[in-house]
């Protein structure tokens, strides 16, 4: 049926390439675009073009940026001595939202995953090591995910960084703020008990 409207079919096919978007959702989005004024559709197309044209990776921290180095790497108010390592740019944004960290960042763009054949060469570890060897950094805060891959990456970094004399720390994990213990999963409670601290 839709084959008789090639431009519409093409839009559905393109939208269906997005993560988490199946053909049904893609068709719904395409209908939405169709109903929008032409100016809005142009603005969407222009925004996509601009993103592809202007955004690149920062040559220092590998976060997404329009200016290289990125504002996070050039901000003089940030502490040069601490680098927070994250897996993906969205993880950096999650930490920035909290306003709890005022150091620099390093985005690995992945994590070690033996089952997927992803080793240290496939992520930005060499670039991190080069930054650490500059001598300014005193602490590396590893904020990779608390998954098998994130933990493997943290252990690998610890092995690399400790001989350099740089302090290495890992994000704490435990009971989410505002939650009742009885509803928290066993593994989280287990790790919260293991990671308990003095009051």
């Amino acid at each position: 049926m839709l084959d008789s409207i090639p431009s519409f079919t093409r839009l559905v096919a393109e939208l269906a390439k997005f993560p988490g978007v199946g053909r049904k959702t893609a068709a719904r989005l395409a209908y939405f675009v169709l109903r929008q004024p032409e100016a809005d559709a142009d603005a969407l197309a222009e925004a996509i073009r601009e993103v592809k044209k202007n955004i690149r990776f920062c040559s220092v921290c590998f976060h997404l940026t329009e200016d290289d180095p990125c504002p996070l790497c050039t901000d003089p108010g940030r502490d040069e001595r601490v680098i927070c390592v994250v897996e993906q740019p969205q993880d950096l944004l999650a930490i920035e939202r909290t306003h709890s960290f005022r150091g620099r960042y390093h985005v690995l763009h992945g994590a070690l995953s033996p089952l997927d054949g992803i080793g240290p060469e496939q992520i930005r570890v060499a670039e991190l090591l080069a930054r650490l060897k500059s001598g300014q950094v005193e602490e590396l805060l590893v904020a990779t995910n608390f998954s098998v891959e994130g933990d493997a990456t943290a252990l690998y970094l610890a092995g690399l960084v400790k001989p350099l004399g740089v302090r290495i720390t890992r994000l704490a994990h435990g009971i989410p703020t505002g939650s009742d213990l009885e509803f928290v999963d066993d593994a989280t409670v287990f790790r919260a008990v293991e990671g308990r601290r003095e009051l």
Binding site: G22, P114, L115, G117, V148, D151, L155, G159
Partner: protein, 255 residues
């Protein structure tokens, strides 16, 4: 239509993210089956599955037939998270290797009774900080045996005659070769004592994995033997093996 819920004990071999919030999880069940289940909202809701879908965990899966080949996961109880694996990179990588080896040897939809007990004991042993080298050898050896691919060890695989010392070994020709049958091509050399150790290891039970500690010579001589035997069974090189070998090489260089 009411569909009965089945409860199965299993090891989580791996998971892959699907769509916005779902996961497809691969299990090795206690009965020795490798199958996949669909965990709806596994990533968006920690309440439903929590950490129970983390790889290498032993779990109790409540499932019902889903659409297509995937089972629909209703609930997954965590029996053993094996948190100790996350203290050593080598243990974590080796755990991944063991799981990938099980997946490859059994194959999706395949059935291999006995493999669960060995993988379960192997993961428990690593999580408790046990010797990784001997455990790896035992796992590989018993996986080969369970799959029916164990090479002939203490007699010539071609003429069933007595072996000399050292022994020529060729996985392609079925295992050990006597001096008369050995051709010198595509063979590895191994001591008769090492073959004796391997033969004794084959009589071990999974719960003894922590009690067996093999010497450096046995481990060293056995590696190429097992490599060739596994290569002849596996359909593709294991992704985790490349990372594991790199890690072991770095460790050797450091020491």
């Amino acid at each position: 239509m009411f569909m009965h819920i089945t409860v199965t004990e299993a090891i989580v071999l791996r998971h892959v993210d699907y769509g916005e919030a779902d996961r497809i999880v691969t299990f090795l069940t206690a009965a020795g089956d490798v199958w996949k289940g669909f965990a709806r909202h596994a990533r968006s809701s920690r309440k439903r599955f929590g950490a129970s879908l983390e790889p290498y965990s032993r779990v109790r899966v409540h499932w019902r037939p889903g659409r297509g080949d995937l089972a629909s996961l209703q609930q997954v109880e965590l029996l053993a998270l094996r948190d100790g694996l996350r203290r050593e990179l080598l243990s974590l990588t080796l755990a991944g290797y063991g799981c990938e080896l099980a997946m490859e040897i059994v194959g999706e939809g395949g059935h291999q009774p006995g493999m669960f007990a060995w993988l379960d004991a192997f993961l428990d042993h690593l999580a408790a900080g046990g010797d990784p080298a001997s455990a790896r050898l035992l796992l590989e050896l018993h996986f080969l045996q369970l799959a029916g691919y164990i090479p002939h060890l203490l007699h010539c695989s071609e003429c069933f005659g007595r072996l000399g010392d050292p022994v020529a070994f060729s996985a392609a020709r079925g295992g050990s070769l006597c001096d008369a049958c050995a051709s010198g091509r595509g063979e590895v050399t191994v001591g008769l004592a090492t073959l004796g150790s391997l033969s004794r290891c084959l009589r071990g039970r999974p719960e003894q994995i922590g009690e067996i500690r093999l010497g450096a010579t046995t481990l060293q001589e056995t590696r190429p033997l097992l490599e060739t035997a596994l290569d002849s069974v596996l359909h593709r090189p294991l992704k985790s093996k490349k990372i594991l070998e790199e890690l072991l090489r770095n460790d050797r260089e450091r020491t």
